[in-house]
Symmetry: D2
Subunit: 338 residues, 4 copies
């Protein structure tokens, strides 16, 4: 932490900063410039310290962090890439893992059809929401427990692991009875009771990026899961909120190399929620693979026109099959496979 | 809902839209332009319908909503201003209600001192957090139940109602035993299980704006509370995330007149979390009163230098007393009082 | 400038940084932490140095500025508030200066009517655009030279100074023949040839904030004007681009106290372009005065329904007169006058 | 244009809207809903009409555009892809055109080295700035005319066309004597005098996206060039301003498919200015090719450590050569070549 003193700060004020740092057992070094004094407070645990600890002291102009606020998710904590294993499928390896299926579980027939087509096209994990967080209380909220049971049945029948979202801390143990991967949605990235409960549960978890959270906040949220002992964490970029109005969210393609640089966790991309429109999904999915994503989470519906939720961003089975062919070529061109 | 057909859409495609609308019992009118056909789908319940219902149909270019997605929070639903009553204090009336106190409950001594100074300065509700949602799992998470009990004691001792945050659906009934107003934090504005439980509880509730949510999404979140039967809803603007880096969040001053135009709910402003720095709090608080806010939520700490959380944005007792004097003058100039 | 070395950086890499700093005549201090070495490079001229100078060197993790990139606009350069004087009207004093008038000069009759009503209501400077930068080439681009001549005539007739925009470096001397204040629009805040020419011209100038520029970038743009010798610089906050869609731009109310803290230049506020809708203008204007703005720039049209540009955000004469009354009361409550 | 009347609007108010539309020669259709009346105003020229024309009328609640505000840049105006031809190189074809070179022209030796390495690696156009728009007046502003002359010499010597930026309308004819492609920078996307002059000049032009402009505004700015008769327009996505702070700008990868859907103009991508750090450039460049970009604009410096500007985002010759190999593989996987 770098404490910049105000121009003309007194010796007493500088001493106040030094004493507070030393009282916390931190290493302090003074830099006396001609204009300003700068106090460097060093130590690996300063990342978890609030900058306010020093910013409130008299004579302080501003504070800059040197250490990142996240710890367990950082590459400094763990240098080699983490692999997450789901029924023998490794996420974070050379294989690009495609998870696909409908936004919401709607019926046995719909889910079975979806499972069939996505598996045939090469997806190895089935997605489908049973609990649906909706912006309006008057919208369809998902089939809930019945949806979970359907997921359980289809998973057995088709031999494909499933990912589904959990939105309420009350439901973590119920959902984890059926799900191979728990999904934490964008609006819950900073829902700390939920993160804590999922962290204790130890199922593999996909942590979607909050749509207005920085990469640093995202990795700090991952620390909640990791600090409870759940090391099976997969990050999912799904677009951020910007001023651009031609898409629902702007996919932050640079978060892929940024995550690879600063964290050991695997990262997948959800092009469907970012685009908001099926016609834009393929280009974004292809870009994600080229940029180094470890997997994709794509909405596919046997009949998007009849989908209860998010039909516009869902691919048809044939569009999905075509896209998978294109993705295989790109994966190969970057030394990976699907 | 206005459905714009693609240039060259066929009669069958237009019919497809008309038929889907009619199958939902909606009123349809066709507009045949020289370039494009536009289908107007009218009816008061179209606001709660997903635009995807029509956007997925062949030949459709784009959809525009006419009705807002929120309903119960709208001024069209209820024309006159709503008043929320807390121990005889009316929020939404000519009185500007100031809620003040520390970010977190830290000790009996700290809370008692805070209660004394804010009450003396003219605040009529005491704030203080017992459960603290923190970005890092390694940060102080609040005194939890012990903090609630302290709030209960101080409230009796000083005769001042209290507002405190609830972050976990598990804790709603516990927190509402002690709190006169439940606070839903910015990161939980779209935490639907929490909204639903607080909506059922019926305590007055302050719903903070999600830091990246539009006014429309905010009012739609309020519908979750209202639709469960809790009509005691107070909105709280606390700043939005922008590119500007001289403050923690940019206070959206225009949300005050926008809310007054589109909703009947009272709105208060939290200048402390927006500013992130005590020196900026007074200007923002004064602006809020001039712009028509019904109240303020301000962080005041008996000794900000020793605060466990957010000391930098907390006012000292003397700064708060001075600010209250300034606010009284502005309140009077806009025909209100504190 | 604070240079954070990578964990495990070699002595040679640290020396490389030190040597480059010393070769530039800068003062260097080393901070050897247990995890990382931090090199503090101090001196008042480091604000104008690119961070890349050091960031490109081997072993460097990241760079943090201590000195701000702007210099002449900073309060460190000039501690006392600057006053800008226009025909005896001082901007930056206790008087809140209201500049009002139509978006565009449309005709002699329109401009004369506007001048009459805004002067009667208490505005002391007339605004009116002769050159209009428009997003579409097919829109009305202003009356250009004829508009300037009209401004010149009306100014004489009503004895009121005028402010008008200059958009092209070619036109600076022409426009300054007629204008008492030159306005640089939001889209031109970083148009450096224009800034340079206006800086050389020495007329008082209103520098509008770029709608996506930080306060730091804004003050650095002001340095372009100041460094050419034009010290008559007035800043104008007019809203920034955010995700919120109920207004055209979100007025950044906190920029007022931030500017007052970091700069000596006066700041005015344009509520009209931010709001985009007449009904929101009064609340924003009142907030600006309460927050400490030195003036306002408001669109008023004798007949907004017939305005060629921006009619929706223009106040009618009677709405403007009512607002001026309300603003006087608020100005008084903060110890100022209109 | 869809005009939504307020609930309870009178017949006279509805008539007012109809009459204004008819007075402009527009086709009007009324939609009488149970809650609200909606007036559809149709016609291909309504895109260029201000929404304020109707929004100011009494009884109007809001206006929605159906037609886009841009015209000449739209795919509705020209269905087939446009090709831009520069010395026999076609941009917008199956060939992915790589333009590379230093941010700024610094010396003959630097530019010659850069030309040599980028040409050898497969770039077919050389970039280099002679006029440099800089945020601070105290920064290096480019070699100006001497830089242009160097570009002219190197271009002859190496037989490679050059692209360079023009920032001042005064300089358009001078710059076009040396440049094969004129570049309009991000901060000048809405500099209308510059757009007009470059539009009249008719050299091929790269129009960079304003870092806070929507795709719609970008295409409307292209209309300025096109309406002056310059059809040789290439769009360049270079990142937008968001809250994310791990990069300088967030590259909007979805703008590629969005532009392909709505416009006939070719689009290239500048990964260097978006990333701001050389280590992130390859991933973004690869993503751009996979997403369908027609070319890339990449900063390469013979010795980034000595670069006067933007060294941190410049690739070394060997990094660039390696990236070109990777890009060739991806180009092939999407049916194109470099």
């Amino acid at each position: 932490m770098i404490v910049e003193m105000r121009r003309g700060a007194t010796t007493d004020e500088v001493d106040g900063v030094v004493q507070r740092a030393e009282s916390l057992g931190l290493n302090v070094q003074l830099n006396l410039g001609t204009d300003k004094t700068v106090v460097a407070i060093l130590g690996s645990n300063t990342g978890q310290l609030s900058t306010d600890t020093f910013a409130v002291l008299p004579g302080v102009e501003s504070i800059t962090r040197i250490m990142k606020p996240y710890k367990l998710a950082s590459r400094e904590f763990k240098a080699e890439d983490s692999l997450v294993s789901v029924s023998g499928i490794e996420i974070g390896s050379d294989r690009i893992v495609v998870m696909a299926g409908p936004c919401a579980v709607e019926s046995e027939e719909q889910l079975a059809k979806a499972a069939k087509v996505v598996k045939e096209a090469g997806a190895c994990i089935l997605r489908g929401g049973a609990f649906k967080p909706r912006t309006s209380p008057f919208s369809f909220q998902g089939m809930k427990k019945a949806g979970l049971e359907l997921l359980g049945r289809i998973k057995e029948q088709f031999g494909i692991p499933v990912i589904t979202e959990v939105v309420d801390p009350h439901d973590v143990s119920l959902v984890s009875k059926y799900a191979d991967i728990l999904q934490i949605g964008s609006r819950n990235m900073q829902n700390y009771p939920l993160l804590t409960d999922v962290g204790r549960n130890k199922r593999p978890v996909v942590l979607k990026r909050g749509f207005s959270c920085t990469v640093t906040e995202w990795l700090t949220a991952a620390d909640y899961l990791l600090s409870e002992g759940n090391t099976q964490v997969i990050l999912c970029e799904r677009g951020i909120r910007t001023f651009e109005d031609s898409v629902r969210f702007s996919l932050d393609i640079s978060s892929i190399p940024v995550i690879k640089r600063f964290s050991h966790l695997p990262i997948i991309v959800d092009p469907s929620h970012a685009a908001g429109h099926y016609s834009l999904v393929p280009a974004i999915a292809k870009a994600a693979v080229a940029a180094g994503a470890d997997g994709l989470l794509i909405e596919v519906h046997p009949n998007p026109k009849e989908a209860l939720i998010d039909g516009l961003q869902s691919l048809t089975p044939s569009d999905f099959a075509r896209l998978m062919g294109e993705l295989r070529a790109i994966a190969k061109s970057v030394g990976r496979y699907i």
